[in-house]
């Protein structure tokens, strides 16, 4: 069963200086087609500006393709990028309430989830203050904890290793392997080719909005390294 199916997807952004300025089209994605089976774990690699984030936005339904079709079967949750959606004027708990509501979590499930989120984040003592008082690491913990507890079938995970300290990263990884056991489909974006190779069963290499290669991690990452060299490997 397919959980994500892209057929010849194009995405054009119109860059303009002003409302009346001349159009300057930029094709963020051109002719991208692939499908992901239910439970599959796929890594997306490529240099900056390759179209990885655009792809994630299209799959999560935040933005829509210029041409082509995207079929998604199940609830999609982005696991990392929602950190920027936290509202600084609110307390931690109010943010949990807001984001769960924004993800469409039903009223009945929300209370129970809030408790689990507070516990998982490991910062439940600090959740009643306005989040401006929290450190950057604590905010990452909070946003990851919220997204990880939203009921979902498909997870979009961006730079998983950037979250929190060693201890919390360990927690994230065990959460991700729990998702794997639950049969959730996952899409990883990362520049950390080693962890992509460890986690994913398949890798898609994007460059300038086109798919360069799509296949088992070893061969795709091998080809990628041959093109860009080891300089692109994160430490």
């Amino acid at each position: 069963m397919k959980s994500i199916d892209l057929k010849s997807v194009y995405k054009k952004y119109n860059k303009r200086d002003s409302c009346l300025g001349k159009e300057d089209p930029l094709w963020a994605l051109s002719d991208v087609s692939f499908s992901i089976e239910k439970g599959e774990i796929v890594g997306i690699i490529g240099p900056n500006g390759a179209g990885k984030s655009t792809l994630m936005r299209l799959i999560s339904g935040i933005s829509f393709p210029t041409k082509g079709t995207i079929d998604v079967d199940g609830k999609v949750v982005p696991l990392i990028s929602i950190e920027g959606a936290l509202q600084y004027i609110l307390t931690g708990r109010e943010n949990i309430f807001l984001l769960l509501a924004a993800f469409g979590v039903k009223n009945a499930a929300r209370k129970d989830l809030s408790v689990k989120i507070a516990e998982f984040s490991g910062i439940s003592d600090s959740l009643d203050m306005q989040i401006t008082k929290l450190s950057f690491g604590m905010l990452s913990r909070l946003s990851f904890s919220i997204a990880a507890h939203v009921p979902s079938e498909i997870l979009l995970i961006d730079e998983v290793l950037s979250v929190g300290d060693q201890d919390f990263q360990q927690k994230c990884f065990s959460k991700i392997s729990q998702f794997k056991d639950e049969g959730k489909s996952m899409l990883f974006i990362s520049h950390d080719l080693k962890s992509i190779g460890d986690i994913c069963s398949r890798v898609i290499w994007l460059d300038k909005g086109r798919i360069v290669d799509d296949g088992p991690p070893n061969s795709v990452i091998g080809g990628y390294l041959a093109r860009y060299g080891t300089a692109n490997l994160s430490p």
Partner: protein, 262 residues
């Protein structure tokens, strides 16, 4: 209808949470906080009183001028303030819009809901004024509810339009205060609807706020039914504004996340 209720039960709390952000942004760091909800209309009332009643010596339907103007100012403030929040509601919430996929209509709706907090406080003060000035209040009082609902229809329609158009053209948020200022002067806020000549009456009523404000006065100050022609005009125009606003919003909603950051 059932699907509307289902959507409401699912997304209602989101509207509430977004409204909380609006209220906190406005009042959290202020010294007078929520007191502004009464200071604003009271101050405007004072200006109207000096200009329209003391200087221009306009009649006020046989009711003391302060309560006469306040009865229209409170619903007018609800309208003007909610439009002021709606216009930049989407652009201000780009961080949510570009990250989470949820119904975008919740954002301008939350701006409107947030203004109802101020409205409730100002309206309570209005009730106090009605007592102080010994205005007779009867069962017709309950008719304010349908009048508020018609106004809500108008506010949602216009709020949806303003919020989505402002994403494309930020000039709208700059022009809005001027438009609202002019709009208040062509509405029966500082003066009575009776001052408008019969030959102009029809054109005057094309402004849906005119019929609404006159209805509030009839109900609250005179213990009378609203004029069905006036209120009917307001209802028809508000419903048209609602339909148009919803249509424009839905038509442009999909491009929102791409355009909002350009």
């Amino acid at each position: 209808m059932v699907s509307v209720l289902k959507r409401f039960s699912r997304w209602g709390d989101l509207v509430f949470a977004l409204a909380l952000i609006n209220v906190k942004h406005r009042y959290k760091q202020g010294y007078l906080r929520i007191a502004w909800a009464v200071i604003n209309p009271l101050f405007t009332m004072l200006i109207l009183f000096l200009v329209f009643s003391r200087v221009a010596k306009l009649p006020s339907e046989g009711v003391p001028y302060p309560v006469f103007s306040f009865a229209a100012l409170v619903p007018w403030s609800l309208f003007a303030a909610s439009m002021g929040f709606c216009v930049y509601s989407l652009t201000a919430n780009y961080n949510l819009i570009t990250r989470i996929n949820f119904p975008r209509t919740t954002i301008p709706l939350a701006s409107i809901l947030a203004t109802f907090l101020d409205f409730a406080i100002a309206f309570s003060l209005l009730v106090v004024l009605l007592f102080i000035f010994k205005i007779k209040v009867g069962f017709t009082f309950l008719l304010v509810v349908p009048v508020i609902l018609i106004q809500l229809l108008l506010m949602i329609g216009l709020g949806l339009s303003l919020s989505i158009f402002n994403v494309y053209l930020r000039d709208i948020q700059s022009a809005l205060p001027l438009i609202l200022q002019a709009w208040m002067l062509i509405s029966p806020v500082g003066y009575s609807m009776d001052m408008v000549g019969d030959n102009l009456r029809f054109f005057y009523l094309l402004n849906p706020m005119a019929g609404l404000l006159d209805s509030y006065r009839k109900i609250l100050l005179h213990d009378q039914m609203p004029d069905p022609y006036y209120l009917g005009m307001s209802f028809v125009i508000s419903a048209a504004v609602f339909a148009a606003g919803y249509y424009f919003f839905k038509k442009n909603e999909k491009k929102l996340a791409d355009i909002i950051l350009l």
